[in-house]
């Protein structure tokens, strides 16, 4: 009997969400990496004793589907976890996403030692080793070049934290001390979660807590299924390509049947020797993002939201990569393309609900040097696709990320760089009844010799319009040399910059929605 009254349901939904929220706040407050503190590239979740996710603090969509995978991987590795035991994992092939994302799972028990459930949190660490600072080297052809890979390992048990294991993890980073700080923050967050979960069990009783968890998931399931029923039954296909070589294809078939949806990525290309491979968890997260957006965005985020969704992908493909494929950018770029492919498919079912394609990239930009030593990394917003109800936003992060920019006044204080232009890229959004948003122009002068690395997409294939709307303008990457000459750069790669050279990144505009009025 896992049903609650309308009142209990709402009260317990708040209580469980509060546990995840407090974990997220504890993590952000005590972390050291700017990725966690400022960019909020982290998440926290609560699971029942069967490893079913019952609440999640939602900060960044790309973690949606991968948190449950981490708990499953921990349980698969160790069978059952004794209360108090904590397991760390970042292995992308075993519940991770890309190597910098470290997840710590903790089993929570009551005073009698009975398992109540699990709490887990994930944080993007600034460096986990590998061939380049930041652990996302553009040149990686296999995962060993991207940093330390951690299969599920026990990092704390009833005796306390395992110093030896923590030292091993930290020692594989360029900034071991910082790793210790971030790991400490992750332990702190799990401690808060475990304490709150025990308080709830004390108040309700262990079995009642378990039933409440089931009821809250069932509630989300009901809400989402109600929304799925409004999507016309049928099979919808779409495909799009990543800009690597002659193009790497991602294909999806979406089947809607009553209150269930099946997404199958059959037809997608094999995994590649470039770091744009998405592991299954990333593909699942991208699918969940689109599903949540188009069904019930406000349903309490838990396993129930996705019971009506099934996602399959061919093994060893670019959307379900296996060892030894490199995966660092699958998280940041391929995830965006998967979203586009799914929106394209759903648009056939829901022409009056689905927006046109957004910029479809995070425009990863990295400038650094060994002497003077600095490393500037950021992702740039662009145009959002026009939606059936409004124009797209300009100069924003879309789909799988939502991190903030670095102010010019902060950047020039910290790095030998000067920002000369940071404006909207006028008229880059696709035309339409509801036009696409404009991309951005970011023009940065190097004040010292340094290296530029770019991981960008949508430089050739434009973000598409929908329902008669025009395409957005593809992005452009340029270098304006100190002598005034201009070179166009490819979408991905590493280049040398001399003092006085300027990099100019023009990010893609969003596609337009609907035909523009002719007047």
């Amino acid at each position: 009997m896992a049903e609650l009254s309308a009142v209990e349901l709402e009260v317990l939904r708040h209580a469980l969400a509060g546990v995840a929220d407090e974990m997220g706040v504890a993590l952000r407050r005590s972390a050291y990496s700017p990725n966690i503190k400022e960019r909020v590239d982290c998440s926290a979740a609560v699971f029942d004793r069967n490893a079913q996710m019952v609440a999640q603090a939602e900060h960044i969509p790309v973690h949606l589907g991968s948190m449950p995978g981490s708990v499953e991987a921990a349980l698969e590795a160790f069978g059952e976890l004794a209360p108090g035991t904590q397991v760390c994992v970042n292995d992308p092939y075993m519940g991770g996403t890309h190597l910098p994302d470290l997840t710590i799972v903790r089993a929570v028990g009551d005073d009698d030692g009975q398992l109540l459930g699990y709490v887990a949190n994930r944080a993007h660490h600034a460096d986990v080793g590998g061939a380049a600072p930041g652990s996302m080297p553009a040149s990686a052809t296999e995962i060993a070049m991207e940093g330390v890979r951690i299969p599920p390992v026990v990092v704390a048990d009833s005796e306390g934290e395992r110093e030896d294991v923590l030292r091993l993890i930290a020692a594989n980073s360029r900034t071991p001390w910082e790793r210790r700080g971030d790991l400490r923050a992750q332990f702190a967050a799990n401690h808060v979660g475990a304490t709150r979960l025990r308080e709830l069990a004390d108040r309700l009783g262990r079995e009642q807590l378990h039933e409440a968890m089931q009821a809250v998931c069932n509630y989300s399931d009901r809400r989402v299924r109600t929304a799925v029923e409004d999507i016309p039954d049928g099979t919808y296909e779409h495909r799009d390509q990543l800009e690597i070589g002659d193009g790497v294809t991602i294909a999806a078939t979406v089947t809607v049947d009553g209150d269930e949806v099946h997404i199958d990525f059959a037809g997608s290309d094999d995994q590649i020797r470039v770091n744009l491979n998405a592991v299954y968890a990333v593909t699942l997260s991208s699918s969940m993002f689109v599903f949540r957006m188009l069904t019930d965005p406000d349903a309490p985020p838990n396993a129930g939201c996705y019971r009506s969704l099934r996602v399959t992908a061919p093994e060893r493909s670019v959307v379900n990569a296996a060892f030894p494929a490199p995966t660092a950018a699958g998280n940041v770029e391929t995830s965006q393309r998967i979203v586009d492919v799914l929106l394209g498919a759903f648009a056939q079912a829901l022409p009056d609900r689905v927006p046109a394609a957004s910029q479809g990239t995070m425009n990863n930009l990295l400038i650094g040097a060994a002497e003077p030593s600095f490393s500037y990394y950021e992702t740039l917003g662009g145009g959002e696709g026009g939606t059936p109800t409004r124009p797209g936003m300009s100069g924003v992060h879309t789909a799988m990320t939502n991190t903030q920019n670095t102010p010019a006044e902060a950047m020039e204080l910290d790095y030998p760089l000067r920002v000369w232009r940071y404006e909207l890229r006028r008229d880059s959004g696709g035309a339409g009844k509801h036009p696409g948003g404009d991309g951005l122009v970011r023009e940065i002068e190097a004040l010292t010799d340094c290296m530029l690395t770019l991981q960008t997409e949508r430089r050739e294939r434009a973000p598409w319009g929908l329902g008669g709307g025009g395409d957005g303008a593809p992005g452009r990457n340029l270098v304006i040399r100190a002598d005034g000459s201009t070179e166009q750069l490819g979408s991905k790669g590493t280049w040398e910059l001399r003092a006085g050279d300027r990099v100019r990144i023009e990010t893609p505009g969003g596609g337009g929605w609907g035909e523009a009025d002719r007047s």
Binding site: S5, A6, V7, L9, V11, R13, H14, A15, G18, D21, E22, A26, R29, S30, Y32, P34, K37, E38, P61, W177, G181, R184, A188, Y219, S220, R222, R223, T226, R292, M293, D296, P297, P355, L380, G381, T387, T389, R390, M393, G395, V396, H397, T398, N402, T403, Q404, N405, P407, A408, E409, A410, E412, L413, W420, R421, Y422, E423, L424, L440, E443
Partner: protein, 652 residues
């Protein structure tokens, strides 16, 4: 200050509240309808009603600036900024407001792109001129701005906080050429981060003419008393400053109540507390430490950020008028939709046909059935029961509605306590606003607070807070220095600026100065606010504060001093909240059947006016007073303390 009469006047959405303190008289509270088109009319009415002699001081809280922004009824404003950064307000921080909800979009920038003028100039991070600003360029910009026929101008150039030479020259030329107010970013907020400084500057420019018009009208209506205006940060400012820098009072609405809640907490013997103000459509909560409200320098209004100090209030969309319904998944939800003042709750008999929180209280007997609602209307308890009966059986009717709204509130209270590492068992819950005292005891029990404190006059706490707030001004400047750098010149300059500004406002006496440094470890990008005493080492202070906030310090790391602040503060008009309010005639003690926690019990009904220090009331009971009712559950024991607060203490 001599013992002349002083008034606190707080303008709310429905009522303008006035508290008058006159020599030899008990404090008086007056409520008069707010005059929406020009709040000054209602203020004058309220002040006249409250006092017939000379007034020395009117301490004023107004939502004129707030409403102007919310309704976008602001001045036609031109933004002048550095070439290459024309879209600084629209790009903002490049994040979107909602992750999954496609219907949510960003607010339009306060200054549209066609009212932005860019300037060929550039200052660098060390204050050096990277591109000189020429006289020809100044002429060109003045022409361009004049051609746009602005009512107000905002000037925010890149790195002007590091060196304001270009901004000053440009602003002087603009002021000479165009007869409209000019807001200079480096004068308003000499801090880094171009979007936040630009947004603060544009907000100020856009409301300046509106606020100036309002305040000069008010000064004409009240020519005699000194007028001070509440700021968002819980201080007061002189009327000329409030007209020139209205961005400082954008969020003054909740500030006064929170200041008073801090003073009330102290009067009841608590240093740390949560202010809990529950109104008709929403509730505000704010953490109080050492009697002082939490102050943030990062706030926003309707999606538009500003960086002047503001009390750290957390708002949730749940209040007395919040509507209860069952959603598609079968859960009972309450709010954020509200019945508002029109039609209002069903029990007000003005056509409301959906159940609200107030209806739940009416149906459970918490509200006096004889109560007059004004306009000859009487509480319609049958109507409340009728609309609640429309909810499905498993919602448990009125009890269910109250449990759900409590769950929402508890989550809000946790946000300002446990999520900040503060143990609720050390806190008192200071409840006010029309509905706060009705929910306080249940909330405090659930959160595990030490006590609930209901002030003697909870309905006019904001107006009282205006008199308890100190004149205050904070001068700041981003210095971006190492912690061992010699900052004495910068401190001296800031203290002089802060002290002079407060002196110029003419509202402060016995001015004290406090030094605050925003510092962080090298490589981090969010700062901690540190109070710096004589001889304090900023690095040590950071280690200490970092440990308190996050559980550890990084003693091996370099410490960056980002921004220095000097706070000048004068004496408040009133040092302590008064205890001896005029409460009217007490009604006779009665008893009534009410519903509490799913049970039906016989509750005592007592009149607050009849209570004096030392009196004890045991729950179940209702303590009624003019504009609010306190509900005491079975087992609650309340006592009136020496300051006339009604205090409920909880063990353990």
């Amino acid at each position: 200050m001599s013992e002349q009469a002083r008034a606190g006047v707080d303008v709310g959405g429905t009522f303008t509240d006035v508290v008058v303190l006159a020599e030899g008289q008990r404090p008086r509270a007056i409520k008069t309808p707010t005059t929406v088109d020009n709040q000054a009319v209602g203020v004058e009415t309220g002040v006249d009603e409250g006092h017939d002699g000379d007034l020395a001081l009117v301490a004023h809280g107004t939502t004129t600036a707030t409403n102007a922004v919310l309704e976008r009824k602001v001045a036609r404003t031109v933004l002048v900024t550095t070439d290459g950064f024309a879209d600084v307000l629209e790009i903002a921080r490049q994040d979107r407001p909602a992750l999954y909800d496609l219907t949510v979009t960003r607010p339009a920038p306060l200054v549209p792109r066609d009212l932005v003028v860019t300037v060929d100039e550039r200052t660098g991070p060390d204050g050096e001129a990277v591109r000189e600003l020429t006289d020809d360029e100044i002429d060109r910009v003045c022409d361009a701005v004049a051609g746009l026929e602005p009512e107000s101008v905002a000037v925010s150039l890149l790195f002007a906080y590091a060196d304001d030479t270009h901004e000053r020259r440009l602003c002087e030329a603009l002021a000479d050429r165009i007869g409209v107010p000019v807001t200079r970013s480096s004068a308003l907020l000499a801090e880094f981060r171009e979007f936040e400084r630009g947004s603060t500057c544009a907000l100020n420019a856009a409301v300046e003419p509106v606020m100036r018009r309002y305040l000069s009208n008010l000064a004409e209506r009240l020519p005699d008393p000194v007028i001070t205006v509440m700021t968002s940060g819980g201080g007061t400012a002189g009327i000329e400053f409030a007209a020139r820098a209205p961005v400082h009072s954008l969020l003054s609405g909740p500030a006064a109540g929170v200041v008073a809640a801090g003073a009330i907490a102290r009067s009841a013997g608590f240093d740390d507390a949560i202010a809990f103000d529950m109104g008709g459509t929403s509730s505000d909560v704010c953490l109080i430490r050492d009697g002082q409200p939490d102050v943030s320098t990062s706030s926003e209004i309707d999606g538009l950020p500003f960086r002047t100090p503001a009390v750290g209030v957390h708002t949730v969309g749940a209040g007395g008028g919040s509507i209860a319904y069952v959603d598609a998944g079968g859960a009972l939800r309450v709010g954020p939709e509200s019945a508002g003042a029109q039609p209002g709750p069903a029990c007000y008999g003005k056509g409301g046909d959906r159940p609200t929180v107030t209806d739940a209280h009416a149906a459970l007997g918490h509200l006096d059935p004889e109560r007059q609602l004004g306009g000859g209307l009487q509480l319609d308890i049958d109507a409340a029961r009728r609309v609640l009966a429309d909810l499905p059986d498993d919602t448990d009717g009125a009890h269910g509605v109250l449990r759900v709204v409590r769950a929402t509130m508890v989550r809000a209270l946790r946000k300002v306590s446990t999520e900040r590492g503060v143990d609720p068992s050390t806190l008192a819950l200071i409840a006010y606003g029309g509905a706060g005292p009705m929910h306080a005891s249940a909330l405090a029990r659930e959160l595990g607070c030490a006590a609930v404190v209901i002030p003697p006059a909870p309905g006019v706490l904001s107006a009282l807070g205006l008199l308890l707030a100190s004149p205050r001004y904070e001068a700041s400047r981003t210095v971006m220095a190492d912690s061992d750098a010699d900052l004495s010149d910068a401190w001296a300059e800031l203290e002089k600026a802060a002290g002079e500004e407060l002196e110029r406002q003419g509202v402060a006496s016995d001015v004290t100065l406090t030094r605050i440094a925003d510092a962080r470890y090298a490589g981090q990008s969010h700062e901690l606010r540190l109070e710096v005493g004589d001889g304090d080492d900023i690095a040590d202070l950071l280690h200490e504060a970092h440990t308190a906030a996050y559980g550890y310090a990084m003693t091996g790391e370099d410490v960056k001093v980002v921004t220095l602040r000097a706070v000048a503060e004068g004496r408040p008009a009133l040092e302590e909240p008064p205890a001896d309010w005029e409460q009217g005639e007490p009604a006779e003690a009665r008893s009534r059947e009410i519903g509490v926690e799913g049970e039906t019990v016989q509750a005592r009904v007592v009149s607050r006016a009849g209570l004096s220090p030392g009196d004890r009331i045991e729950g179940p009971a209702l303590v009624e007073q003019r504009d609010t009712t306190t509900l005491l559950a079975p087992g609650d024991v309340s006592e009136v303390d020496d300051a006339n607060n009604l205090v409920v203490r909880f063990d353990g």
